[in-house]
């Protein structure tokens, strides 16, 4: 639990430093984080972090990149070439679908505060 807190907190702190110290917009920072997650996962460095910190490594957006790459690699091992196209989105389908479905439902109900 403490490991999840510290690792998750540190990943967010890196993001905060990037916001404060550079002129990068939040969207760019999120893209950078996802790509870093993909690269670390491809190098086999992210999985040990997940084993160490659990949700501390999977909940930040870098974990999304990790899931994509892990999905692609597993699917290539299982299905061959087609896995390059199917693996990533398959592994993250739950997250993507949930965000779309819940967001649409909420947008039907909620109204924008600033009119």
């Amino acid at each position: 639990m403490i490991k999840a807190f510290v690792v998750g907190g540190l990943i967010c702190t890196i993001g905060q430093i990037l916001i404060d110290k550079t002129r990068l917009t939040p969207a760019k920072i999120l893209v950078i984080f996802v790509i870093i997650g993909c690269i670390l996962s491809a190098l086999g460095l992210y999985e040990p972090l997940v084993n160490f910190a659990g949700a501390g490594a999977t909940v930040p957006i870098t974990g999304f990149g990790h899931s994509l790459v892990k999905g692609v690699i597993n699917e290539i091992d299982r299905e061959g070439f087609i896995g390059i196209f199917t693996g990533g989105v398959k592994a993250t389908a739950a997250g993507i679908s949930a965000s779309i479905v819940f967001s649409i439902l909420v947008s039907f109900i909620a109204n924008s505060k600033d009119k």
Binding site: A4, G9, Q16, A55, S99
Partner: protein, 148 residues
């Protein structure tokens, strides 16, 4: 003791001085980000306790966190929370959910198809696009290295 130049020292003082917004922002981001991850860890521990399998557990944890993020966005709590926590609320997956839900709510007035449908991914789209693209690049490299 490590030696540091005057310039470096001034820089350090600037960072660690109590009024530095960077330091307080980082502490807030660390604390809030850490708490969200602990919340995720608690959900996944509880799901294991309920006897849910490893694969389903991690997916369900993500779904629950996204649900929470979207609901807080709907009640207009997440944006207030975001002003306090900065990256601490942006980097976790709840921030991704917030980005999608807030775009959907904001552009509702432009209609259900053009407003919500088109603008849903105006903030979160780049993450999805470049995430999928990077994983594709890794996949190609992995596939080629595998057949060689």
């Amino acid at each position: 003791m490590t030696q540091m130049s005057k310039k470096e020292y001034e820089h350090m003082v600037k960072i660690f001085s109590p009024n530095s917004p960077v330091l307080t922002n980082c502490i807030k981001a660390f604390f809030v980000g850490g708490c969200i991850c602990v919340f995720g860890e608690l959900i996944s521990k509880y799901l294991i306790y309920l006897g849910i399998s490893e694969d389903v557990k991690s997916l369900l944890t993500v779904i629950i966190l996204i649900f929470c993020g979207v609901c807080l966005t709907g009640f207009n709590i997440y944006s207030k929370f975001g002003r306090f926590a900065g990256a601490g609320s942006m980097i976790p997956i709840t921030g991704f959910a917030n980005a999608i839900a807030s775009s959907a709510i904001e552009f509702k007035k432009e209609g259900y198809i053009i407003g919500i449908g088109t603008k849903l991914f105006s903030l979160a789209g780049p993450v999805l696009a470049y995430g999928v693209f990077s994983s594709f690049v890794v996949g190609i490299i992995y596939y080629i290295s595998k057949i060689i």
